[in-house]
């Protein structure tokens, strides 16, 4: 049975990522946006392959509700059990805006369960999870759902619909005023053809994973929960995802990542390790 192994700071993968996290807290959102626009223009003129470079979110800022600041998550003494089976006991940790909290542990240790608890889909047996906005106020469970994006193997998009119809649906139920042009742009940025009329049922697992990522980024969430996000992605997709995560950190987003992938582990600035 698992138990929490503690929280520690990991060294960033490179000097760059560490600097990004620190500097993102000192710059305003508009300054970061302007800088990113300059970067995109540079990428366009240089390589002509802007589709797989930088953030997925360019152009969407104007159409989705903006958070005035980041959201932090803290959880303490969280435990989960199903009847007599204890999944984990007394897990604590936190993630601040601009940080990646990496949850690691062997198969069956409860990484995905902890992720589900943190994003509000499961109730913990014991312990509490707090979501704080930039002004220090606690967010309620209802308000919280609107500010997070999730990519997880256990969460699927609608197979009977096309990719564009999926994004259109999630935008409508989230009350976004985004237009089809924005959805097409987002699909292009995750490497999917927006004009493809095939329902998602006909997609490969990698393409479906890209669509899940697009769905998670659709509403420009302040917090992103990623459960093994690189799984099923080809090397190009994995590179793109890493760039995407780094650019999200620049924007002071909070990311919680459950993984055992060595490459994904290097993205973390904090770590919670679950014992098997």
């Amino acid at each position: 049975m698992g138990e929490q192994a503690g929280e520690q700071r990991l060294q960033p993968a490179s000097g760059d990522s560490g600097n990004l996290c620190v500097s993102s807290r000192t710059r305003s959102r508009k300054e970061m946006d302007r800088e990113r626009v300059r970067e995109v223009k540079g990428a366009d003129s240089g390589s002509g392959s802007a589709r797989m470079e930088l953030s997925t979110l360019d152009g969407l800022h104007a159409i989705v509700p903006q958070m005035s600041g980041g959201i932090s998550i803290s959880f303490s003494d969280v435990a989960k059990r199903y009847d007599l089976r204890v999944v984990f006991r007394a897990v604590s940790g936190e993630a601040q805006p601009g940080e990646v909290l990496v949850i690691t542990g062997p198969n069956g240790s409860g990484k995905s369960t902890l992720l589900s608890i943190l994003c509000g889909l499961l109730r913990p047996t014991r312990g509490e999870v707090l979501y704080r906005s930039a002004d220090g106020g606690n967010l309620t469970r209802d308000a919280w759902g609107r500010h997070l994006g999730v990519v997880a193997p256990s969460m699927a998009v609608y197979e009977e619909l096309t990719a564009l119809e999926n994004l259109r649906f999630y935008a409508r139920v989230r009350g976004l005023a985004s237009a089809d042009a924005d959805h097409r742009k987002l699909l292009e940025r995750v490497g999917l053809d927006p004009e493809r009329k095939t329902p998602v049922r006909g997609y490969s697992t990698g393409m479906a994973q890209r669509l899940k990522i697009a769905q998670a980024l659709l509403h420009d969430p302040a917090v992103l929960f990623l459960d093994e996000p690189s799984s099923n992605l080809d090397p190009t997709g994995q590179d793109w995802l890493e760039e995407c995560v780094r650019s999200l950190l620049e924007e002071a987003r909070t990311i919680v990542l459950a993984t055992n992938d060595r490459r994904e582990m290097t993205w973390g600035s904090r770590n919670v390790s679950l014992a098997g």
Partner: protein
Amino acid sequence: MSRWLAEALAVAAKDLRAEFRTRVALNSLVLFALTTLAAVSYTIGPYRLSTEDRPFLLSVLLWIVIFFAALAGLDRSFVKEEESHTAPLLRLAAAPTVVWAGKLLYNLVLIMVLMALLVPLFCVLMGFEIAMPWRFAAVLAAGGFGLAVTTTIIAAIIAQALTRGALFSVLSLPLLLPLLIFLIQGTTAVATGDLDTYRESLRAILSMTGAMTIFSAFLFPVVWRD
């Protein structure tokens, strides 16, 4: 309110689009209804019942066919979300009442499609003559809404259970039985032209449906989230 309605319509439209592409629930509903109707019309037909008993017995048969067809097809709305693992994202993206209203609209459309196909065919094949056609439409509309409301909340409950197959019918029967009795009574009244009984039945149907709607609206967020 308009935003809430737009979000609920989005859920209903998504379900209808998916349903008209796969036709799983629609096929179950229509095939069950048509098979039963064919069996009933073949064995009983329009002339085997006495004139005196005809309005009551045909009302019973009509609502039995609609009731069991509804049981055959309307449990899918939530079960499908859980089985295809789309429910978690929907929980995060939409407010519970939006999901409930969207699913209710979806079930309502399915049951209205079923009634639009079944009822005229039933009346023709069974020689069911209605003295007050517009009031018959009112009974059908109220009954359809009542069936949709009840089956929607039961579908939400059973979607969380492991043994879903029999549970839908087991839970539906006690909740729908009182409604079914008044629907039969109301249909008999509109067939015979008994205005007082029609009014009494319609009042009872609307009361039960209203109570079930309020009960469902409050219960659903608990069922959906926990």
